[in-house]
Amino acid sequence: MRHGVQSLFPAPIFPCIRAPMTDLDRIRNFSIVAHIDHGKSTLADRLIQLTGTVAERDMKEQLLDAMDIERERGITIKANSVRIEYPAKDGKTYILNLIDTPGHVDFAYEVSRSMQAVEGSLLVVDASQGVEAQTLANVYQAIDADHEIVPVLNKIDLPAAEPDRVKEQIEDVIGIDASESVMISAKTGLGIPDVLEAIVHRLPAPKGERDAPLKAMLVDSWYDSYLGVVVLIRVMDGVIKKGDQIKMMKTGATYKLDRLAVLKPKMVDIAELGPGEIGVFTASIKQVRDTKVGDTITHEKRPCVTALPGFKPSIPVVFCGLFPVDANDFEALRDAIEKLQLNDASFSAEMETSAALGFGFRCGFLGLLHLEVVRDRLEREYDLDLITTAPSVVFKIHMKDGEVRELHNPADMPDLTYVDHIEEPRIKATILVPDEYLGDVLKLCQDRRGIQMDLTYAGSRAMVVYDLPLAEVVFDFYDRLKSVTKGYASFDYQITEYREDHLVKMSILVNDEPVDALSIMVHRDRAEARGRAMCEKLKDLIPRHMFKIPIQAAIGGRVIARETLSAMRKDVTAKCYGGDATRKKKLLEKQKAGKKKMRQFGKVEIPQSAFIAALKMDE
């Protein structure tokens, strides 16, 4: 993922830092917590720029967001890091390590690891907007990681800025002291030196034993086309040197360090890294999936006794099918997925055959954003046209014989006679919304089988906490939320638990044949309404054919909703005269080309767009 930045500096020769290792009290490690568009990347750019870490001519915006998609969407997907040397006003020069974390819930585990790797956070809040739901989730992670937190109010130069109100909000909603917030404008550079001083004087120095056995945390890793897998680490105890024989404690794999470097943000080789330091290494590791975020790295010969706590492998929670629009592109899709997986271990893919869509892949993602990012990258970087089937969550099927199966695809639902009960993932959703839209938000959550857990106010904004089934959120919840609140709501969630509910598989039959790609898991009480809505939608989405087409929703063998798409009655050119067939020929050929955008299913042609559109709920 970092190769965007790497390609800026393609020269294979790197300067080497020979300076002795830094004292712990001259190191400050921190992250930045902020909502999208509140100015995190701009602030990071300013810090890098002001300290001369990157030459002026190499500066470009959002230095740390290397992927096009990161820049375009204003989000961070992979953790990233930069080492800044800062000569402070006290006359000493400090090493500041910023770890830029992904801000999105999909990457919550990666965020928590990044948080564990640093001692403090800057909480950046837009002084004209206030605290948002996403800020909350991340700031709680920082609090959980025992961070010292420095509030930073950005965009104070805007006429709409209300720093006092926002300070009050930070104290009310988050519960931290905001009286000494640093006031800045990242855009104009106002207040940036104050931020640097605050980092040095308000954030704690890291702790660690230089003489203890090596203990380092694997914070993140990525694939670089020149260097192979690059691993970002934070050293807790001990010293790591180039050429060391190291061991990953969870995977048990051992490697010899090829290179050791720090990021400024380009790679600069370094002889060794001691306690409190953050850097990267390469060690002839082939795939990103060989490196587990949160793993503990130690020396093979003199290992540490206990691994760092909190390791958990990332598990996909949202699944969907990806199929090439043109069946001939299947091999190209397979190649693209393999290449993408080199860099993204949390994205899983298994071959899938759908009667409706042909050959494709059932892919697992950390969340909806992750799904969209991967799909965008496949389409953009590999020039593929894809059909995405409806996202589904992982259901746990408890069989009567005690076996528990994970269901990734509703089409694979086992025969109900062998099923004891079904569990689905639940989330805790936090929604911040101006009170005038509160009613709509509550209705939306109730309609999606939500259970209200909390409702509080911060000024004129309500904070709603709901227990919701993830399955009801993965599809179009966020779109609906944006639409009912005119874009004023912010939303965040975390998965809480698996819970039993009355879930059934609903199949859709078109012209009496089940269309596997349209099967969904749905709550029994809502199946009928959902089935009716889907049949009605499909009736509009499927063009009329030369024969009438029954469209049915069924649970097992029982039809619960039915619509009939009547046969095409008239499609004929009345007058074809004067011997000119050219126009008619062109028209029919154009229509014929349009047919290629459809999927043949039995005798029925279903437009590709229908596979997603049929599931959208207009409430």
């Binding site: 030369m546 499609d571 004929v572 004067g578 020929k585 047919k595």
Partner: protein
């Protein structure tokens, strides 16, 4: 092996591009002009006939069709001169069909005798409706009574008189159409063209339709019903459909139009006229400038009114044959299709269309069934390779 066009025959189309007024539904190449120098046009038509004849001499000419515009606005002397020139240029079939399109106004019908003397033996009349309100809405300048009179005059001068009606009009109910159609069949001799109103882009109706101001057009289902009723009633009266919109007593079909639909060769003369001509074993598509002035000038200065002449490859010819032939009740000759195309129609798609009752095969021909004909475009989308 005989050349493919011979299956359809050889015809000549003469386009007269002028009308007294443009009708709001019409997207044909027609223009309204103040003064028309018919002598000048005559010279151009004669020169073009001469040129076409040079390329196709010794062919027997089966049909001539004067279309438009409103060819009944041509001076009878002009029509006579053209027909004389044609007779001098090609060997004529024993019973050549020479049709002229006419509007049923008194001005036009006053010339019928002269047209007959000039050599016209078939009239195709733009009756369009048997209801005065609808005639006005369609922008027609005749009344029902005037139309009937013109029709009566025509039948005294011509053995073969056909007329056109437009249906599925604004606010037209299936019942009203049924009554009108029965009335029409009561007066028809042996041929009727029954077109559903089609809203074409670039017409006045097209613009009104886009603006949402063309009210009361029947829904697809209702116009489909009207189409079916039309087929039934026409059969009852002994006027089965021989083409999507054309009905005739057996033997009275428009032979000129059959040349198109049977994919014969035809010369197209006049502004915007299309032709298909097999020359040195290869079928060509020809067309001419659409603007009357541009065509006239080109003929006068270059001695050639063609705008383009493009050879058609086998696949293009096969599609054209398919598109035309499937409009006919007699359908498409599969052996002939294979010979043109080199590749037969996809047997799976043919079988599928047969299975769902849209087409039938009989003695080496395939044709649309009664249920297939109203959705012919859908059938063609399946069959086009």
């Amino acid at each position: 092996m005989i050349e493919d066009w011979r299956h359809g025959g050889f015809g000549l189309y003469i386009h007269w591009p002028f009308c007294a007024a443009k009708c709001p539904y019409c997207d044909f190449n027609s223009h309204v002009a103040g003064v028309i120098d018919q002598k000048r046009w005559q010279a151009a038509y004669l020169s073009e006939i001469e040129r076409a004849a040079r390329e196709t001499k010794d062919r027997v000419l089966n049909t001539v069709f004067f279309g438009g515009g409103t060819p009944s606005l041509m001076d009878p002397e002009l029509v006579a001169a053209i027909i004389d020139k044609i007779r001098a240029s090609w060997p004529q079939a024993n019973d050549p069909e020479i049709t002229l399109e006419a509007n049923p106004t008194s001005i036009d019908s006053g010339r019928f005798r002269a047209f007959s003397e000039a050599g016209i033996n078939r009239i195709s009349m733009g009756m369009q409706a048997l209801n005065d309100d609808d005639l006005r809405r369609l922008g027609r300048m005749h009344s029902v009574a005037e139309g009937r009179r013109a029709f009566e005059i025509a039948r005294t001068h011509f053995e073969r008189v056909s007329f056109d009606l437009i249906y599925a009009r604004q606010h037209q109910t299936p019942e009203a159409w049924q009554a009108e159609l029965r009335e029409a069949l009561g007066m028809a001799i042996d041929h009727l063209s029954l077109y559903q109103l089609t809203i074409e882009p670039g017409t006045v109706f097209g613009a009104r339709h886009d603006a949402g101001k063309l009210k009361g057009l029947p829904e697809d289902d209702s116009s489909a019903d009207m189409y079916l009723i039309t087929q039934e009633i026409c059969e009852e009266f002994g006027f089965p459909a021989y083409e999507v919109s054309n009905h005739a007593r057996p033997g009275a079909e428009s032979r000129h139009n059959l040349i198109y639909w049977r994919y014969g060769d035809y010369v197209g003369i006049g502004p915007g006229a299309h032709g298909r001509l097999t020359l040195e074993g290869r079928r060509h598509a020809t067309d001419t400038p659409k603007q009357p002035g541009a065509w006239l000038e080109q003929v006068e200065t270059r001695g050639n009114g063609e705008a383009s002449r493009a050879p058609l490859d086998d696949a293009e010819q096969a599609i054209e044959y398919l598109l035309f032939a499937m409009r006919l009740s007699e359908g498409l000759d599969m052996q002939r299709f294979n010979a043109i195309s080199g590749t037969p129609l996809d047997p799976q798609r043919v079988a599928y269309l047969e299975e769902i009752g849209m087409i039938t095969q009989e003695q080496g021909r395939i044709f649309a069934t009664k249920s297939g004909r109203p959705v012919l475009n859908a059938i063609l989308r399946e069959l086009i390779p």
